[in-house]
């Protein structure tokens, strides 16, 4: 339903209309009724009542004649009272339809985005704004159009009453209310712009209060260094700057609005002034006069503000549609949401031929003419200083980035020619910040073989067996519902695991996976030495016969590697067995020695 096209302000109506045409139309009909009833109809009923009462007092009518106008008056009041809640209900129906129709679509698009958008601050901001704002913006947009319709109809309805009495007054109102509309809408737009501007200024002081002065992470430094007073002063300074900037605009807006309201009051005055004579000459009944006066002064009260609010909402929804356009235009990756192939291909070799790669926003390339080859069944270790490009290599071979120069060959065939499902089935990665899915333990592990999960439920025994290999028996023992216990705090009965246990879950997931290449991306950085040794050993034992890649700057891990590849400055500076590299006396030897020295 969401196409890739240019979205305009009016789409804020078109999108809900597409999924819930009946209720959108109904909503506007109700707005129409709400515009007519409290103004023109109420004025007529009031006139009817007052004139009848006066007639009765004057002895021109029997006293029973008053009941019809009284009941009419009550009926109109009843309609006014009830229609509001019906309209709210209709609106929430529209909102829910929108949510149900478009949220899954938005998520679907997000899941297919090219990975570069996830790491790019600008596009990520658009993604977040679109997925968080959709329903709210559409609701506000409908509101805005409703309010504008209602205001126009109200004015027309009152004009309709007046035009039968003094035609020129109606003409004056017509002529003047157009610029008033424009001014109110303009003020609303300005107000919106001011808020956008203020938001930018706001971030500077909100940062201090959120991430420096009241949070947990900064608690140690905040307490010991005692900078609360200093940073609070900075906070106030920045707040003051933002406040003053906002004040300037808000004075302007208030003046604008004030002039609209006062002009409205003056017009009202002129009209009623012109209506006095007809009453005296008997052309206009006093009841009609009262009805019109009440209706006009009622309009003065609400018109300026509600139009301004509407204008602000229109501006926001217009901006939102720009975001939506950009969001839909973000490039997507083919097969991004595909399952891995059921049967992974037989892996023979992986080869980088003169591969260069630059992150889209980076100035210089991170990989620069990188070449190496890996063969099935061996253990590899990638080492290098921080920022050397180790993790980038993993992103390339798992197909997250495809804009590299040179060739990456899997079994002699270019990586980019493989379908996404095949690549997914080829690799299993335990990331440094591996996911801690807040679902049951069983599902957490079963995700390691998502292809099977789609076809048939993986047997519980298989999961238990894998969990046991990953040394999770004790953890499962402690869980109330065994492997079916939800993990994390999303569900009420959920249980959180310790960091170490989560790591084992990640390992179990990888064990279940039938991918022939297992990658371990710096999993030990925050572990103590004993835990670190254990993971290396376990992993080695578990992954026998598979091809493994360890990425680490803790050089102890290289002991398990058949071949060590040293990445430096975007290329390979050394490769070979531990002994060869030590003999060569290059970077690796230096790094290794610097670490080994501590253990001599």
């Amino acid at each position: 339903m969401l196409d890739i096209r240019k979205y305009k302000g009016i789409d804020v109506l078109r999108l809900p209309f597409k999924v819930s045409p009946f209720f959108v139309v109904l909503y506007f009909i109700l707005e129409f009724v709400q515009a007519i009833v409290p103004t023109a109809l109420l004025a007529l009923a009031t006139a009817f009542f007052v004139d009848t009462a006066i007639a009765i007092f004057a002895g021109e009518a029997v006293s029973n004649a008053i009941y019809l106008p009284l009941w009419l008056l009550l009926l109109i009041v009843l309609i006014i009272n009830v229609i509001g809640s019906i309209s709210t209900l209709v609106e929430s129906k529209v909102r829910l339809s929108v949510e149900r129709a478009y949220m899954p679509e938005i998520l679907n698009v997000r899941a297919h985005l090219d990975y570069k958008h996830i790491e790019n601050a600008d596009s990520w901001e658009i993604v977040e704004r679109v997925s968080q704002g959709l329903t709210e913006r559409i609701k506000n947009g409908i509101d805005a159009y409703g309010a504008i319709l209602r205001n126009i109809i109200s004015i027309l309805a009152v004009l309709g009453l007046i035009v039968t009495q003094v035609w020129w007054a109606a003409a004056v109102v017509m002529v003047i209310s157009v610029p008033l509309f424009v001014v109110a809408l303009y003020a609303g737009k300005k107000n919106y712009d001011a808020e956008v501007e203020a938001y930018k200024l706001e971030r500077s002081f909100v940062y201090l209060s959120d991430e420096v002065l009241t949070n947990r992470d900064a608690a140690d430094e905040r307490t010991l260094f005692g900078f609360s007073d200093y940073a609070t002063k900075q906070y106030s300074k920045k707040h003051e700057i933002a406040r003053k900037a906002l004040l300037k605009v808000s004075i302007k807006i208030h003046l604008f609005l004030q002039s609209t309201s006062i002009s409205m009051a003056i017009i009202a005055f002129a009209i009623t002034f012109a209506l006095i004579n007809p009453v005296i000459t008997g052309e206009l009944s006093p009841g009609m006069f009262m009805g019109i006066v009440a209706a006009i002064f009622g309009l003065v009260e609400t018109l300026g503000w509600s139009l301004q609010e509407a204008a602000k909402n229109l501006s926001t929804s217009k901006e939102f549609m720009k975001d939506l356009t950009k969001f839909m235009e973000l490039s997507r990756a083919d097969g991004a949401a595909d399952l891995p192939d059921k049967e992974p291909i037989v892996f023979e070799s992986l080869e980088f031929c003169n591969v260069s790669f630059k992150y889209p926003t980076a100035k210089s390339p991170i990989l620069n003419g990188l070449s190496f080859s890996l063969n099935a069944g061996k253990h590899y270790s990638f080492v290098g200083v921080n920022g050397a490009g180790k993790t980038t290599i993993i992103k390339l071979i798992t197909g997250l980035y495809k804009e590299y120069d040179g060739e990456i060959l899997i079994n002699g065939k270019e990586l980019r020619t493989y379908p996404a499902g095949t690549l997914k089935a080829l690799f299993s990665v335990i990331y440094q910040d591996f996911a801690r899915y807040q679902i049951s333990l069983a599902d957490n592990i079963a995700l390691g073989d998502a292809a099977q999960e789609a076809a048939q439920e993986i047997e519980e025994e298989k999961i238990l067996e894998i969990a046991s290999v990953a040394d999770l028996d004790d953890a499962i023992e402690e869980l109330e519902d065994g492997i079916n216990t939800p993990l994390g705090k999303i569900e009420d009965e959920g249980v959180d695991l310790s960091g170490g246990q989560w790591q084992k879950v990640a390992i179990a997931r990888s064990l279940l996976s039938r991918a022939p290449i297992k990658i371990l991306d710096e999993p030990t950085a925050s572990l103590d030495p004993i835990a670190e040794s254990r993971i290396y050993q376990e992993f080695e034992g578990l992954m026998k016969g598979k091809t493994t890649i360890f990425i680490s700057h803790r050089l102890g891990s290289t002991k398990l590697a058949d071949e060590i590849i040293v990445i430096n400055n975007g290329g390979i500076s050394e490769r070979g067995s531990h002994d060869t590299l030590m003999e060569a006396g290059g970077i690796y030897a230096e790094m290794f020695d610097s670490q080994r020295r501590w253990y001599e």
Partner: protein, 592 residues
């Protein structure tokens, strides 16, 4: 901790009012005065409308001429314009005032947080409370509540009393109009709050799940893993299911509420009807004029909608805020660490005697009866497995945490009895969770010692010593792309954190496991540097890289919250205890 306290509603309201007056001063008085005038203007307009309607009735009967009608009309218009101006002035003043007050409340809150003990920040309940209280200020709900308290008096009461007086002066029976408006609105509101509470209770977990499944697919953290695993379908199914349930539930409740609201509106209408009927009777009996009928009738809608506003939006949001307010004052009233001033004498070293510490939401002690003496100028290394209590011990020794049992004396100052400012005066550190402040390079260093004016040379010196060498950054460079500055590499941030620790004048410095994400060459550099920099200071180095512990004069091995061994590296290796085991495990990877 006094956080379990519950305040009475009256006390909270009183306190809020006092705080409002204290912070707003004359501007607050002005705001309230304008509000009173605003409220009175409504009644004045009703009265003026009546006069106009009466004269027009008479005019139609030929007893008044044009100008006699024009005068009350002019008055009415003047009042209407006046009301517009007053209401603009009111909203302008309150906008201005609430922005200023917001800043003051936030300042008070931030300063308060700054004076609380660091250990509270390990308590998730406390963190939740802080988060809530901060939101309460952030969303201007605190300010709203304050102005609501005043508004009820200066706006609603003034309006209803003046209208009542006016109606009473027309004919006493009309006072019932006010009652007829009030009761249905109140009943309606109570019922509605209950229904929405129930909905929220049912929907909150669903919403949490729904949002999470979205995150599992598309958040930055999970994106690449879920994609590689092919987990989209799995999570998407859960997502659509919960979305379906969520919207279904909401719809059901909305329907219920709409039905209820319609019934209530009909009840309100009944009140309205009764009022009209009374007016009607009074008119027919000749107690009030037809003009008065029309004027009061026109005002009725306003009276009813104001009544609904006060009950349904103001009072109900007010009642929601009570809990928040309670929480806010609980935090503002939390005990602070106080104590006498004092000067540390580091020749007395740092002495811990049988200290224990338990984290708020845990049962077992993180540090259990540990005794330890660090001599002047001594460097100590603390090693042990994850969760052995290393970082906790360091926080106790620096006075960041207060021991639940035992005493810590830093340079002769008891951390429990002496004011923290005195204790912290000679202490500096580089923490595991060192901060990357989105500030200028200069401020990133200066922030460790803000009690005196920034010293440019000392800042440069500290950066130099820490070997901070990002060439593109000058002292005034903003270190955050978000604020149009630059970002640093992880390694440079690390060096900057060390520069920060060095800039602060200290006799006692702590380096708490700062090397986790650093490559080996950099790690070695940092450790050697630390050795140089801590030459004549008391120093503590927390690490699980055992080899680095060799730099220290003594090594403390921690296990399960206790000190399991103390000694020099050589002694410990010979003793064949935990340290020797760990050492072997790690060294094995390097012996080939």
């Amino acid at each position: 901790m006094s956080r379990e306290k519950e305040y009475s509603i009256l006390y909270l309201v009183w306190r809020v009012c006092v705080q409002y007056i204290k912070t707003s001063k004359w501007q607050g008085v002005l705001e309230q005065l304008v509000t009173i005038i605003h409220a009175l203007s409504y009644t004045a307009i009703i009265a003026a409308t009546r006069v106009l309607f009466d004269t027009i009735t008479q005019a139609s009967q030929g007893t008044m001429d044009f100008w006699e009608v024009a005068t009350p009309l002019a008055i009415l218009v003047a009042l209407t314009i006046g009301q517009q101006i007053i209401s603009a002035a009111e909203s302008f003043i309150s906008l201005e005032l609430s922005a200023k007050n917001f800043c003051r409340y936030m300042e008070q809150f931030q300063r308060k947080i700054g004076r609380l003990q660091a250990e509270h920040f390990e308590d998730t309940d406390f963190l939740n409370d802080v988060f809530r209280a901060k939101n309460f200020i952030d969303e201007e709900e605190l300010g709203d509540f304050m102005s609501l308290c005043f508004r009820i008096v200066t706006f609603f009461s003034v309006f209803f009393i003046s209208v009542s007086v006016y109606l009473f002066s027309l004919t006493p029976i009309l006072l019932l109009v006010i009652v007829a408006a009030f009761i249905p609105a109140l009943l309606g509101q109570l019922a509605q709050i209950k229904i929405f509470d129930e909905l929220e209770e049912e929907n909150a977990p669903l919403r949490r799940q729904n949002e999470y499944y979205q995150e599992a697919i598309a958040s930055r953290k999970n994106f690449k893993e879920t994609r590689l695993l092919g987990g989209f379908r799995f999570f998407n199914r859960l997502f659509t299911e919960t979305l379906y349930d969520l919207t279904q539930n909401t719809w059901k409740t909305e329907r219920k509420v709409a039905l209820l609201r319609t019934l209530l509106n009909i009840a309100a209408f009944a009140g309205f009807g009764v009022s009209i009927f009374m007016l009607f009777n009074a008119t027919m009996a000749g107690d009030i004029s037809v003009g008065a009928f029309a004027a009061v009738f026109a005002a009725l809608t306003q009276i009813f909608s104001l009544m609904e506003e006060i009950v349904s939006s103001e009072l109900s949001s007010g009642s929601e805020y009570i809990g928040q307010l309670n929480n806010y004052y609980k935090i503002m009233d939390m005990d602070e660490v106080g104590g006498k001033e004092g000067d540390a004498d580091y020749s007395k070293g740092i002495i811990a005697y049988k200290i224990s510490f338990t984290y708020p939401d845990r049962e077992e002690k993180a540090v259990n009866k540990v005794s330890l003496t660090i001599k002047e100028g001594e460097t100590i290394a603390i090693v042990g497995e994850n969760g052995a209590g290393k970082s906790t011990l360091v926080r106790l020794l620096t006075g960041l945490y207060q021991p639940s049992g035992g005493t810590v004396k830093v340079g002769g100052l008891d951390t429990k009895k002496i004011h923290p400012n005195s204790v912290y005066k000679g202490i500096s550190g580089v923490f595991q969770r060192y901060q990357r402040y989105k500030m200028s390079l200069k401020d990133n260093v200066y922030i460790s010692d803000t009690k005196s004016e920034p010293n440019k040379e000392a800042i440069e010196q500290a950066l130099f010593q820490a070997e901070f060498n990002e060439k593109t950054a000058t002292l005034d460079t903003m270190l955050s792309p978000e604020f149009d500055g630059i970002d640093l590499s992880g390694g440079q941030w690390q060096r900057l954190a060390i520069a920060r620790g060095l800039y602060r004048t200290s006799k006692f410095i702590v380096l708490d496991e700062p090397t986790a994400a650093i490559d080996p060459i950099e790690e070695e550099r940092i450790f050697n540097q630390f050795k140089d920099l801590s030459k004549d200071k008391c120093a503590i180095l927390v690490t699980h890289r055992l080899g680095s512990a060799k730099l220290a004069d003594r090594i403390i091995v921690m296990s399960d919250g206790k000190i399991s061994d103390i000694g020099t590296h050589d002694e410990l290796v010979l003793r064949k205890g935990l340290y020797a085991n760990m050492w072997k495990a790690q060294a094995a990877w390097y012996s080939r």
